[in-house]
């Protein structure tokens, strides 16, 4: 199967001329972006700038109108590509957590391992416990999501994605739905992941995280990437007037 042939030299994510329209409304107007293995790329920008749509296009939650997206050299926009196989290598974390409320934490972490990766129950539970420990929630395996705080739910969501042993992780405003005092614990988990070398693409409003953890910062507005570079550079000395304007309002 073509999707089994991973080109180790290919970038983790290679977006070429991505255009996305919702009806008449063109949200992404030709995006080119390459994310190399081990990079932590943060995307900032005003609401409606297309940053979430860009992120959701990477694992095809949004179907691109035009352009190509290559994941480790495999064109996911190609109709022939088995998207379910590629998605196993891309962890996704949502703003609203999206844990499965009818399952325990352990159920959330094992369902895809068992049904997709065909791991045995024991194997899946062993991996799940290991990932729960990584996000500091080893004792919550039997809890239902509704009994957890928002921060704990988001950490479970991260653990759930990690259980599939992804090569990269997408974060769609992972802390935006959290009470301020719960943001830190989620960012800490993400920071640890980054330190361990995980490839990450993060849509965020957390400028501190972008500055300290990000290897690159991207500013989007109006469906374009207007500026990118070293996070400290961009945040301290933005070049594009729109970036300056945006940062002056959020910092």
């Amino acid at each position: 199967m073509s999707t089994d042939l991973i080109d180790v030299h290919a970038p983790a994510i290679d977006i070429q001329g991505l255009v996305k329209s919702f009806g008449e409304n063109e949200v992404l107007k030709g995006i080119d972006l390459t994310v190399n293995s081990g990079e932590v790329v943060c995307i900032i920008g005003p609401s409606g700038s297309g940053k979430s749509t860009l992120l959701r296009s990477v694992n095809l939650l949004e179907d691109p109108t035009d352009g190509h997206i290559l994941i480790e050299g495999i064109d996911v926009t190609d109709e022939e590509t088995d998207i379910d196989r590629v998605r196993q290598r891309i962890g996704m974390v949502f703003q609203s957590f999206n844990l499965f409320p009818h399952m325990t934490v352990l159920g959330n972490l094992t369902i895809a391992q068992r049904r997709v990766k065909k791991r045995s129950k024991d194997e899946a539970e062993r991996v799940a416990q290991e990932m729960l420990a990584r996000v500091g929630l080893a004792e919550k395996a039997d809890a239902f999501p509704s009994h957890l705080s928002g921060g704990q739910q988001q950490r479970v969501a991260i653990a759930r994605a990690l259980c599939m042993n992804p090569d990269m992780m997408l974060f769609d405003e992972p802390t935006s739905a959290l009470d301020p005092e719960l943001v830190g614990e989620v960012l800490q988990v993400m920071r640890t992941l980054a330190d361990e070398g995980m490839t990450m693409l993060v849509v965020t409003h957390e400028m501190g995280f972008a500055r300290e953890v990000g290897s690159r910062l991207i500013f989007m507005d109006g469906g374009h990437i207007l500026e990118q570079g070293d996070p400290r550079e961009v945040l301290a000395n933005p070049q594009h007037p729109r970036t300056q304007d945006f940062l002056s309002r959020v910092l």
């Binding site: 379910d84 962890g91 609203s96 999206n98 499965f100 895809a112 990766k117 599939m164």
Partner: protein, 263 residues
Amino acid sequence: MALKRRTRGRLYRYSMYALFIAFIVLVAVATDWPKIGKQFFDLEVAAKLFPDIVIVALRNTVLFTLIAFAGGLLLGIVFALMKLSVIAPFRWFATAWIELFRGLPALLTIFAMAFILPIAFGIKPPGGPVGAGLIGLILVASAYMAEVIRAGIQAVPKGQTEASRSLGMSPMKTMFWIVLPQGFRIIIPPLTNEFVLLLKDTSLLFIAGTFIWSKELTSFARDANTMYANATPLIMAALLYLIVTIPLTRFTAWLERRMARQR
């Protein structure tokens, strides 16, 4: 002297109570109680109905309901999924099916199945005419349940599907493991309601024709009514229906209250 507003309100309420009680008393006096007792509550006739009214009639009513419910549920899932399908002809077919069987009287569908199946298709369902009638009831149930199930599926937030697909789960696995279990939880109250409706609709199966062993409560009661020239069997059948339906409707109400609290 004008009455105070509160006094006037009280007087109005009391006169309403008095009118209502007068009406009840009037009906009670006008009723021929001995005759009613003899015609509707004849203990001797009631005793003769046992045990058949329970081990044949009630059993059949419950059995037919379970069969129609299970069949309707399975077909209902199929038509709900077809109605939500990306394939347009599936949607058209499901819509036509649902509109057809919701638009026809259940009695007509049951009656028609008893003839159409054996004559047009050469199918002889087990159970004879009641079996064929039951298939009619399944078709009716599937149409109603398809709409309930579709609503349940659509009530599951889109983020659930997105999370599942992001983990590499296929559309089928996502539907089976993530969406349907949550959708069904949402529609337990309307499905229980549908069960109660079906239980009552099994009384329509008489139109297909019944044998002694395949009588359900209503046809059993009608025949006993004729046999004993006494209406007590109808009352007995009514009581047995209520013994099953009232706990179920109370259960539904309790579930709905509990769900409203959780929200």
